[in-house]
């Protein structure tokens, strides 16, 4: 492999002799020389197509000129090749002008009403390589327009130059070949099948790579021109991949988000959630002024001074009484999470701090301690010979990682194993081997497979990776089984949480057992380092987890709570969580939007959403993803500043006035050098055999659902996968369900009724989307993955 990589050829382009790696395509070599050949269909991340013919150059091989100009985007370099581009060859220049004239024959003069106007490769290249007038005077071919091919992508077939970037992206990268070329000749056009709209989680990328205005975004339609926009490089806040993106704002409002180009992380792609879900910034639920609960029990707007005074007095009283718990939430930047961790230890005087706003376990915490210094990267996942995913559905829960795995499957036949319940679209598109398990029995299944066989053989290949999602915490013993399998096979383990802030919060000590840098609370030397830096005395006793904190609050064992972005309905038992929040003596909420927590809070302090704050996300690789605010003002402050000021009111100093101050304070502490041992918990009880009329519930979230940051996005919601109850044919028959008919999944707390769809689940198992419209599993049923539910038809 190394020999072919270093093999080079020498050729001449426009009289310049250049050495290029063998197999490189001509247009790329020209680019490296700074010679720009006009092109539409060529995209560095897509396979060459040679569809638009705009990149014609004159080529001479072995002293003999080729009879016609050649497309430089499909021709690979060769030794002794002499290439003349439009700069030196009148033939190439004339050919390019001719192609441009042909492309423009049926292209409408839509520039004034086209969203691409001002940033359009066709517009720009028509100016640089086109003729000033056309010989074509006849009537142009027209199509009805715009044609919505999904609720968020609009197709204008008149403008299309048939470069096939969109169809190649959908087919090669996303694996959703719902759009393709139809018809022939002058009527050739892009289209979808009649009954199948362009329902892809990655459809937004086709809008961005379209070199003309043929694909436009419904949400961004006619909102602005490129020269109106102020662009800021940003980092996506929606999942733990930390994708580079670009936020375009106009007059204090975010107009759109585009994928940034970061070859090490998201390449040039972004999932639709990251691209389109930003209207929450201006949602009516947003809070921008401090709120205080008055005597009548209503929240009223007050000044920052008053809100902070009341909050500090209440917290001081609570601290003097039975103590304060701190729930940080999973959407924090590293700096903000550090402020929560430090606030808990310094101002609240407790280790009762936890970022985990989802089902969690002590075993998970033990596992996370072994994950403090991550070794796996996107590149490592791509290069891995085999990958096992545990407790996560790649496409639904980490879209960009899914694209990487799919790329590896396509490029070098990576073997993918998925420990799950059914062949989801993500499983099928990665050609994964599904290791089926009854929900809750994943740990035992993995242990049985760990003995030997196909999975162990595949994972024993050097460089193999096990990806563990945060849902693994819902299955007792699963983390231990993963650790055991990793030890046996030598595969590397990577923890891929769902939320953007989880890894950062873990590293900065927003957990009950760890201090910043991963220092264990129980390690006296490590604790002393933090005590010296912070000037406080810390308890040697680890604190309580989120569930324990809320249980303590409910029983009166805690007098105060400081809660960041936590939704009680995400927790294992929403009812118990709400009871804790309601019963605690004093509740301070730091939020960007009204939520179940703010409804119960005594003081609500508004904090800044991503567009208004600076900070650093730590993605699942452990890579730091710093970003700057894309909007000025807004009158909101980041969590670290609010907590710092609150602490000052409580007579302590956190030194986290700004994100950079917080980062400086944190970096002075440095990392912990000790090691942790992996958890060795036995699998939980084997799942109960399903009785008559009952089934074991499998559930996880879909990418596009009822998430708090997806409010006010009708176009985006239109491409979400329809919520369905899934079961296999035998189970459906046993339960009396018919495909397409309704099924009701119930517990003692409530019922969810959805249409039925058959899938290859194990016997006696039904699947529900965890947080989709009409299917709020945790809050309606009060149970989750692996629970026993009653299923009836209708």
């Amino acid at each position: 492999m190394t020999t072919t990589e270093t093999e080079t050829v020498t050729l001449t382009i426009d009289g310049i002799e250049v050495t290029a790696p063998k197999g490189e395509i001509l247009i790329r070599t020209c680019e490296r020389l700074g010679i720009i050949v006009p092109r539409f269909c060529d995209h560095p991340l897509l396979e060459p197509a040679g569809a638009c013919r705009q990149c014609l150059v004159e080529v001479e091989m072995g002293g003999r000129p080729m009879p016609k100009p050649q497309a430089s985007c499909t021709m690979t370099v060769a030794d002794g090749m002499v290439v003349k581009t439009q700069h030196t060859s009148p033939v190439a220049d004339k050919a390019q002008q001719g192609v441009m004239e042909l492309l423009l024959i049926n292209h409408p003069l839509d520039c004034p009403i086209c969203d691409k106007g001002g940033e359009c490769p066709l517009q720009n290249q028509a100016m640089s390589t086109g003729r000033t007038d056309s010989r074509f005077v006849e009537t142009k071919r027209t199509f009805p327009k715009p044609l919505p091919i999904s609720s968020q992508v609009l197709l204008d077939r008149e403008r299309c130059v048939l470069c096939q970037r969109c169809t190649r992206f959908s087919d090669e990268i996303a694996g959703d070949p719902f759009i393709d070329l139809l018809e022939r000749g002058a009527n050739q056009q892009i289209g979808t099948a009649e009954d199948k709209p362009f329902q892809s989680y990655f459809s937004g990328n086709t809008i961005q790579i379209c070199p003309v205005g043929a694909l436009t975004s419904a949400a961004y339609r006619f909102r602005s021109r490129p020269f109106d926009l102020k662009s800021t490089p940003s980092v996506c806040e929606h999942c733990s991949s930390g994708c580079a993106s670009r936020t375009d704002t106009r007059r204090g409002q975010v107009m759109r988000k585009l994928a940034g180009n970061d070859p090490e992380v998201n390449e040039e792609w972004l999932c639709d959630k990251g691209r389109f879900a930003f209207r929450y910034l201006g949602a009516k639920q947003r809070i921008t002024r401090p709120l205080l609960r008055d005597e009548s029990g209503q929240l009223v707007e007050v000044s920052w001074t008053e809100a902070l005074r009341v909050a500090a007095e209440g917290l001081l009283a609570a601290r003097g009484n039975r103590g304060i718990g701190v729930l940080a939430g999973g959407r924090l930047t590293r700096e903000d999470a550090y402020a929560y961790a430090k606030f808990a230890r310094v101002a609240a005087g407790t280790h009762d701090v936890d970022f985990r706003a989802r089902p969690h376990s002590a075993e998970e915490l033990a596992f996370l301690q072994t994950q403090l210094t991550p070794t796996v990267t996107f590149a490592a996942v791509e290069a891995a010979p085999s990958v096992l995913t545990v407790g996560m559905d790649l496409e639904e829960e980490s879209g960009i990682l899914f694209l990487r795995v799919r790329k590896a499957v396509r490029k070098h036949g990576q073997r993918v194993f998925t420990l799950g319940q059914w062949s989801t679209p993500g499983v099928e598109k990665t050609h994964a081997t599904l290791i089926k398990s009854v929900p809750g029995a994943e740990a035992s299944v993995l242990r049985e497979l760990s003995v030997g066989g196909e999975l162990v053989d595949a994972l024993s290949a050097t460089g193999s990776v096990i990806l563990v999602g945060d849902r693994a915490a819902e299955v007792p013993g699963l983390h231990s089984a993963v650790a055991e399998l990793a030890t046996r096979t030598g595969a590397q383990v990577a923890w891929v949480p769902r939320r953007a802030g989880d890894r950062g919060a873990l590293e900065v000590g927003a957990v009950p057992t760890l201090l910043p840098g991963g220092r264990p609370v129980t390690d006296a030397a490590a604790r002393a380092e933090v005590e010296r830096a912070w000037g406080v005395t810390l308890s040697a006793e680890p604190g309580r987890s989120t569930d324990e904190i809320l249980a303590a609050a409910a029983s009166g064992a805690l007098s105060g709570l400081v809660v960041g972005g936590v939704d009680p309905h995400d927790l294992a038992d929403p009812a118990a969580a709400l009871a804790g929040l309601a019963n605690v003596g004093f509740l301070v909420s730091l939020e960007i939007m009204t939520s179940a927590v703010t409804e119960l809070a005594d003081v609500v302090l508004p904090v800044a959403p991503d567009a208004h704050r600076a900070g650093t996300y730590v993605n699942w690789e452990g890579r730091h993803r710093p970003f700057a605010p894309s909007l000025d003002g807004g009158g909101v402050l980041p969590d670290c500043r609010v907590l710092d000021t609150l602490a000052v009111e409580m007579d302590v100093d956190l030194f986290t006035q700004t994100p950079s101050a917080a980062a400086g304070d944190l970096d002075r502490l440095g990392p912990y050098t000790g090691t942790f041992t992996a958890p060795t918990e036995r699998p939980g009880s084997t799942p109960r055999p399903a009785q008559v009329g009952s089934a074991v519930l499998a559930t996880w979230r879909q990418l596009l659902d009822d998430g708090a940051l997806q409010v006010d996005e009708p176009a985006l919601a239109g491409t979400a996968r329809a919520p369905r109850v899934r079961a296999n044919a035998a189970t459906a028959e046993r339960l009396g369900l018919t495909e397409g008919g309704q099924a009701s999944v119930a517990t003692d707390r409530g019922a969810i009724t959805l249409p039925v769809e058959l899938a290859d689940l194990p016997d006696g198992v039904v699947w529900l989307p965890a947080h989709s419209p009409g299917s709020q599993v945790r809050s309606t049923l009060g149970v989750g993955h692996g629970a026993l539910v009653r299923v009836t038809a209708g």
Partner: protein
Amino acid sequence: MFDFFKGFGVTFSTMFKKVVTEEYPEDFPPAAPRYHGRHQLNRHPDGLEKCVGCELCAWACPADAIFVEGGDNTEEARFSPGERYGADYQINYLRCIGCGLCIEACPTRSLTMTNFYELADDNRQDLIYTKEQLLAPLLPGMEQPPHPMRLGKDEQDYYVQGPVLARQGVESDPVGEQVR
């Protein structure tokens, strides 16, 4: 010595000449026909707006005096023929230098300049003219948008056959260049 009479002579002879003083504001003399006065957003003969919200005027403006935001015509609410209309349109006359590059840039001849020149006020806010102020008045035969396209089935009919349609209309030229 004659200088004395010469001086008075000038004064005296002026009494018989035509006065150049404009009796403004009692009298309101029209400006030159192509004077760069206040802008106007013109309408099609049926009252639909010509502006498509393309922002080319804003792009051309050297003084950054124009703000435009496009909008999407729907079947229920149509303001202009075609897909797009100018949802928000503002010209800041504190910034406008009257150069006329905007009307040259306008692809639909929606934006033109009238010869109205009384652009003064005692506060800044009122000198930012909004779309309602800039839109041409409805002439007879015109209908206040939103309403469906009356002169054809699509925008091509408006653009390609526009002059013909305009001649068939009641009051031919909606571009009222002389404003009083």
